[in-house]
Symmetry: C2
Subunit: 521 residues, 2 copies
């Protein structure tokens, strides 16, 4: 497929912004004094805990599952016909695959690709050494300190788009940052896509809840980016979940086909709570997830060879006591690291991770579990980190306070990914010579020259003395986060959007909405 | 030095417990239904983000610091004489080292060693693929939900020893779990060592606040373990901090010499807040810390060749805004990973990490920062993790609630270190065959056979539904932790201690206390 170099996407074609250094830096600064960060290009290695024998064993078991048990492709006769033509054995809705077939089919996919944003400064590169952070996806509820837990609205949706826009280390606007349940279910995708285009200029995700909603997402993208551009470039990345174990349903297959045919990227994601949708073991979960991903990814290439796609995995364990999902636990972390290795062996981008937790409040549990999910994603080399901020209560709630807490972690982790500065300035031998034994470095020339950028500066941690913290009201982290997200929304300024494009988007949406009655289920 | 195999230490020699399987399992169970875990022997690789060129550069810079700038050994003429004899250049209290001298001297130290506990089931192996978790060290204050923040007492000290004892993944009783400031400063070391021996049977740390207190710690250990055994085995591990930059003071040198001469282990620990005690850069901090550690470790081997020792590093950054230390930030994590690599190249055990944070409360900040410190310690292969639980407010406070929250993380991380089960049961192919597409694994034979041990079970996380959590009082994590630590103390049963040994310890302490007036500064 066609790939446009960084900084030369849709916006540049329409001459909105230049690509030069100073201009780029000016363009990067925006409302609220934010200097946006580009997506991460890792300068640290990946952590690879599973050895060659272990990886080969998992791959062999996945082929056994594909060959012997097979995968169900439900409610989509066309999919079955496609598989039959490709040489698979089709029995009812069950498809069984000769060993190696899926692996061979996915070879046509790119190892990495650019997702274009309407502001080319915000284009992201997905795959390889690159890493993209995206916000929480899917919750029907929101929570904040004053309002408590309540159903999400379109206003909440727009707020989370704005918060993602105002977060420098959030490289992506995401998709369903929360479900705007005050909008009819058959129309809300239009408002969601519009909100991403109107209130942010970062890349975003399309609707997957029905094939026609996927087509609407593509149509809106064509208005914003131009039809030719969308035909030849990736402007939407779209979340296709597997109904684990070993089942794709008609809705997801329909959306998958719609996006693949439009040359837009799909994330094929086994959604697994081990113990329910997969065995209660790490190696069993890995083999099944790999089999499911291979089948869905190969199918995507059959629909349109060369279309960009991402090997996804959402992995959690079921509490065998409560029957509820658990997060930040060691077994899913072992799954994540090994799955990232398996994806790299397939030369495909990998999606997993996120600031996941089962906590009901943005408290210590939320934070323990979130870092326990995010740090493995970063060290494991996940390329597309969905749920990077805001996720609460097993994904049922988008939390305003947790969003800005997690956003601080994203900034922290982005610095970590920059690795070691071994320049002369980084080595600082002259500073050590200048200061000498028993003295302090606070006033030395090297410190003076470097202190502003030397260390990551947390937006949420209180490092002051106990007395100072007391004098400032003894606020806990959630209370400080409450102040911060309100300030971010108050400081928010929308990025510019061509009024003609805005009008065309609104016209399309109005016509679509008028063409069908509201549906709420 | 003499090394006794695991499980055949002091207790076995005195016939306290057998070494057999069933007997060992019985012995491992104790009050409160706890099944203690042995220290970790990693089955996962270490994460090594700094490459060979970078490591060689840091090592070269450390040698430049040692040769050109040197290290001060203050208030200890004997130390200067020792260095002069060893071939270093002594100028006043400044010691400069020919390149390679320190590295050559430390070659006599063991790469790993056993620290013996009075219950040999609790012996720990320090170094190599082994990892030991120890509690918080040093805070003058304690905090709990009801009592708030207050000066620590001996009762608090005993409580934290008991909590460490009741924590399965806490392999060590630690040292100054808090400062019992109600006991005179010149006598409290006696009560601290006694508390470790009386209320726990896990290994522990000696006093380092004065040479004579180190000698008292050794004398008490000889009563508990037998004098010959202590002469020939490590029963105390002792924290010797460097006064960074590049200075050892007389107190620490005195304690170091006392322990080394008694054949007890020392942890030589550069204590660095980058920006104050070292440059504001990662590579500068690393070179200086390596130089300091090399000088202190080499000195230890000069005092007694072959004495076990640990390369330590406490690394944090100074907030350039508030002047206070920050924790869980990316720069100290980069320092930690590389320092662990440097220690492995020296074939020495490494100490760092801990559940560090600047938070004033056991809230989200505390948890974010603690995991951001603990996970690098675990993935980086730190052998002795001090401050594994309970640390709050930059080390000023031992928190009851945070202790049990962090303790849960230790259990989580210990499971992670076990790595991948690739047995047939772990692969679970038969379970996948049995269940098949679209079904669930809850009732299948493999799940039934494995569910009790399949997943780490958090002691503190609430994974229940929102409704269930609400029905149970909508408790946040700190409130649940409050219930848990009280239950642990209520369930606590002291491990058996030979009454004759107990009487001898108390007699030694009474005599010592009577021999000097109380001092409070």
């Amino acid at each position: 497929m066609s790939e446009t170099p960084e900084g030369a996407g849709a916006g540049a074609r329409r001459g909105r912004r230049g690509g030069g250094g100073a201009a780029a830096r000016r363009a990067a600064r925006q409302g609220g004094g934010i200097t946006q960060l580009r997506h991460i290009t890792r300068r640290i290695p990946t952590y690879e805990p599973l050895d060659e024998d272990g990886l080969a064993l998992i791959e062999d078991n996945a082929e056994t599952i594909l060959q012997e048990i097979g995968i169900e492709f439900r409610g989509d006769p066309e999919a079955l016909a496609i598989w039959k033509d490709a040489g698979a054995e089709v029995d009812g809705e069950r498809v069984r695959f000769p060993r190696g077939l899926c692996r061979k089919l996915i070879a046509t996919a790119p190892a990495e690709f650019t997702q274009h944003a309407r502001n080319p400064e915000r284009n992201v590169r997905i795959g390889g050494r690159n890493m993209v952070f995206a916000p929480v996806y899917g919750p029907p509820f929101v929570r904040d300190l004053e309002g408590g837990r309540r159903y999400a609205t379109l206003e909440d949706f727009q707020n989370f788009v704005k918060l993602a826009y105002m977060t420098p280390a959030m490289h992506h606007s995401g998709g369903t940052v929360c479900e705007p349940v005050d909008v009819p279910v058959n129309k809300r995708h239009l408002d969601m896509v519009y909100s991403h285009l109107r209130y942010s200029d970062k890349p975003f995700m399309g609707s997957v809840t029905a094939p026609e909603r996927a087509e609407d997402s593509v149509a809106l993208a064509k208005i914003a980016f131009g039809a030719d551009f969308v035909d030849n470039n990736t402007v939407l990345v779209n979340l296709i979940n597997v109904n684990s174990p070993m089942t794709f349903d008609g809705t997801m297959l329909g959306a998958l086909k719609a996006y693949a045919r439009a040359n837009q990227a799909v994330i094929v994601t086994p959604f697994i709570l081990s113990g329910a949708m997969a065995p209660v073991s790490v190696a069993g979960t890995l083999a099944q997830a790999l089999a499911e991903a291979l089948a869905g990814l190969a199918f995507t290439q059959l629909v349109r060879p060369g279309v960009p796609m991402i090997f996804g995995l959402f992995s959690s364990s079921l509490s065998m006591q409560s029957g509820a999902p658990t997060f930040g636990s060691p077994e899913p972390n072992l799954v994540l690291f090994a799955a990232a290795q398996l994806a790299r062996r397939l030369e495909l981008p990998f999606r997993s991770g996120g600031a996941l937790c089962a906590a009901k409040l943005p408290d210590a549990q939320a934070a323990y579990e979130s870092v326990q999910s995010m740090m493995p994603a970063v060290l494991g080399g996940v390329n597309f980190v969905l749920h990077g901020a805001g996720w609460l209560e097993g994904g049922l709630v988008s939390s305003y306070e947790k969003f800005v807490m997690d956003a601080d972690q994203l900034g922290n982790l982005q610095v970590f990914c920059n690795g070691y500065d071994l320049s002369e300035n980084g080595q600082a031998l002259d500073a050590i010579r200048e200061v000498g034994p028993g003295q302090h470095f606070l006033g030395c020339a090297h410190t003076q020259a470097n202190f502003e950028t030397a260390f990551y500066r947390s937006t949420i941690s209180d490092n002051n003395s106990f007395e100072q913290w007391q004098a400032e009201g003894s606020l806990d982290t959630a209370q400080r986060a409450n102040v911060l997200w309100k300030k971010m929304l108050a400081d928010y300024e929308a990025p510019p959007l061509d009024p003609a494009i805005d009008a065309a988007l609104l016209e399309f949406i109005a016509k679509k909405k008028a063409s069908m009655p509201d549906a709420f289920a």
